[in-house]
């Protein structure tokens, strides 16, 4: 019985002891009717609270009660994670070594990973070939291979999420990524209330006070509705080096847009660096010019830029970077950013890259000089919101 609990937890399903105890008391009451089918549903309804985990439950259940195997992929993923958990301190590579390692392409890496998964049988830390931590092998976590593949789980209770990282690793311990809920809670704090509209809500306290002063003659006092004045501009980097963080950005977007709480909410996209235009829809080539963005600003606007700010220096210093080939511009990316920073006194830059790694990128320092930069984590978002108020 207890096996089920630990198998579930082993698979990354965060079932709590309280829920387990509830199951026990349900069984005391005979709710499982002494047959396996009912027990299966009973345990599922009490232990699993997300349909995405039903599959994991099925596998755990088969494994524990019918002696079935945990499927290879899950078992392997689990093993890898365990090897990684017993990890090592990070070893930093010299610049030359980094250069050397950059030559692997993603496809090559994936192919190689497949091969090593088949060959490797145990944990391996600090080396340069097998999957492990702190090493310079392209596979594993907390390592320093510049283009390698990381197994750092993304957090959020979904257990092991295999993530292919092109450019940067994240550390398991101090990088708590956000789920939509946490973001919504954080964003809710971003408000500035102001009385607006017609006087139509009853101000109870004032009414009572007036009435008392009138010696019981009722006098109703009406006030105005308080409304959030904040207009949020969310400008997000997409594609390229931001690809690994896409889900994180999507969550931020859905948190901000689901929050029916801002006076105005607009989201735009850019690639690499903000140049002449920001895009409403990249595929449809729908855009507004950055100048318009600046022209239409008001005091209530808050500018939130999400991006890794890890660019090649030329993307910042040469007009248009050369990536946006369709349009030409005379204004350098860095000057665009400077214009924006002057135009929006209330602005932040949220960076999905872990704060500790910022110093590896020269461009982050440049951008950070223009925008107050915060990591896209629970605490980072909280600090950023404070800055915006």
């Amino acid at each position: 019985m207890l096996d089920l609990f630990y198998t579930l937890r082993g698979m990354g399903v965060e079932t709590s002891p309280t829920e387990w105890l509830t199951l026990m008391s349900a069984m005391d009451k005979g709710l499982h009717n002494h047959n396996v089918d009912d027990f299966y549903y009973l345990a599922r309804s009490l232990l699993i609270k997300d349909v995405a985990l039903y599959d994991a439950y099925d596998q755990a259940f088969t494994h524990v009660f019918q002696g079935g195997d945990i499927p290879d992929n899950l078992a392997t993923k689990d093993d890898i994670l365990r090897w990684l958990e017993e990890g090592l301190e990070q070893k930093l590579l010299t610049a030359e070594e980094l250069e050397q390692l950059k030559h692997y392409s993603l496809e090559e890496l994936l192919k190689e990973l497949q091969k090593r998964l088949e060959e490797q049988t145990g944990p391996h830390h600090g080396g340069h070939h097998w999957i492990g931590t702190g090493g310079t092998s392209p596979f594993g976590s907390g390592g320093s291979h510049p283009t390698g593949i990381s197994f750092d789980p993304e957090g959020g209770g979904r257990g092991a999420v295999l993530q292919a990282f092109k450019r940067k690793y994240r550390n398991m311990r101090d990088d708590i990524t956000l789920d939509v809920r946490q973001m919504t809670v954080a964003l809710k704090k971003l408000r500035q209330l102001k009385n607006t509209g017609a006087e139509e809500t009853l101000d109870l306290d004032a009414t009572i006070e007036k009435t008392c002063k009138n010696a019981g003659d009722i006098e109703m006092v009406f006030g105005r509705e308080r409304e959030n004045q904040v207009r949020l501009l969310l400008v997000m980097d997409t594609g390229g080096s931001m690809e690994p963080y896409r889900r994180l950005c999507e969550r931020l977007f859905s948190a901000a847009s689901s929050l029916n709480h801002f006076k105005e909410f607009k989201a735009y996209y850019f690639h690499n660096c903000i140049y002449d235009n920001v895009y409403e829809d990249v595929e449809a080539d729908k855009f507004v010019t950055t100048d318009d963005l600046i022209k239409n600003r008001s005091q209530e606007h808050r500018l939130v830029v999400v991006g890794d700010a890890a660019m090649a220096p030329y993307e910042l210093l040469i007009p248009n970077g050369f990536l946006e080939t369709r349009r030409t511009s005379r204004i350098k990316g860095v000057d665009r950013l400077r214009m924006l920073s002057r135009a929006f006194p209330k602005r932040v830059w949220l960076n999905p890259i872990s704060e500790r790694s910022w110093s590896y990128y020269d461009t982050i320092a440049t951008v950070g000089g223009l925008f107050p930069m915060y990591p896209l984590t629970v605490s980072g978002l909280g600090r950023a919101i404070k800055d915006l108020l």
Binding site: S16, T18, E19, T22, S25, A26, K29, G30, L31, N33, D37, D38, Y41, L42, R44, S45, L46, I48, K49, D50, V51, A52, Y54, D55, G157, D179, V180, R181, T184, V185, K188, L202, L204, T207, I208, T211, G216, D217, I218, S258, N260
Partner: protein, 289 residues
């Protein structure tokens, strides 16, 4: 336990074994039952039929974006009291007269066990579920104005529905019995349809089901037709007395009254595009989202 296994669907509601197990567990453990599932799989309807199946009264609390947890407990009608004090209607010294119980409040303040449906909990503020934790745990609350405590003599059967993917807080989830209503398999769907349209000819039903499930599997469709839409569509077809196409591609031309099944203009175009380009529907069916 004697009162266990009391719910197993009603004449108007086909419940899978997993679902009726979940209902019965929630009833027996006196814990809230959280129901999720695709829109149109009968989440709200379930509560009505649980109430009918268990022969209990039912209280509905429709949650809106402005709903506060406190509204569910009670409202102190100060304005009425003020008015009464001025014009001398009734005894204003008795504050209790001006305490109006909300849906949750009245579900607790009854002699007989009732079913309380908290519908679409995800619509409210993010903090809403957290604010309810204590009241749902203790099944009692304190009325500050009168100093009285309302507590349940019989803990109500609480059924909570949630539509969206928006996550509910962990602490809240830990206290719930959870069930995800799967989209019905074709044979289960047939029996559901038969509940609503008992005299349907077999061939007609089979054709309707084929069209329905093929539409659901068209790739790139954003709002897939659901059970309630199928039932409405069949009703329209019967009323209009039209025949269904025997086979071939699905498009807004070939399927009569497709507007009853497909509600989004965009999806309609997707289906027509798939029909004309001939790229057929995806092979596998999806159980979970």
């Amino acid at each position: 336990m004697s009162d266990f296994n009391r719910f197993s669907g009603t004449q108007g509601y086909i419940a899978s074994r997993a679902l009726s197990d979940a209902v019965n567990v929630a009833v027996a453990l006196e814990r809230p039952l959280l129901i999720k599932g695709e829109p149109g799989t009968g989440k709200t309807l379930l509560a009505h039929h649980v109430a009918r199946g268990l022969e209990m009264e039912m209280i509905v609390w429709n949650v809106k974006s402005t709903t506060k947890a406190r509204d569910g407990l009670y409202v102190y009608d100060t304005v009425q009291r003020l008015n009464d004090s001025r014009f001398g209607d009734g005894d204003v010294r008795d504050i209790g007269r001006y305490i109006k119980l909300g849906p949750l409040g009245s579900a607790l303040d009854v002699e007989e066990r009732v079913v309380l449906l908290i519908d679409e909990i995800d619509k409210a503020d993010v903090e809403f579920p957290n604010d309810l934790l204590n009241e749902l745990d203790e099944m009692s609350f304190h009325v500050v104005e009168t100093g009285k405590t309302v507590s349940a003599k019989k803990r109500p059967v609480v059924i909570i529905t949630s539509n969206s993917e928006k996550e509910l807080p962990d602490a809240f989830l830990r206290r719930c019995v959870f069930h995800y209503i799967d989209f019905p398999e074709p044979d289960q769907m047939e029996s559901i349809v038969k509940v609503h349209h008992p005299d349907l000819p077999g061939k007609f039903l089979a054709d309707a089901m084929r069209v329905f499930y093929s539409l659901r599997e068209v790739q790139g469709i954003r709002k897939r037709p659901s059970t309630s839409e199928l039932i409405d569509w069949i009703r329209v077809l019967l009323a209009a007395g039209v025949e269904l196409p025997a086979g071939g591609e699905l498009s807004s031309q070939s399927v009569p009254y497709m507007g009853a099944l497909v509600k989004m203009e965009e999806d309609m175009r997707t289906i027509d595009r798939v029909a004309t380009t001939g790229s057929s529907h995806s092979g596998h069916s999806r159980n979970f989202r």
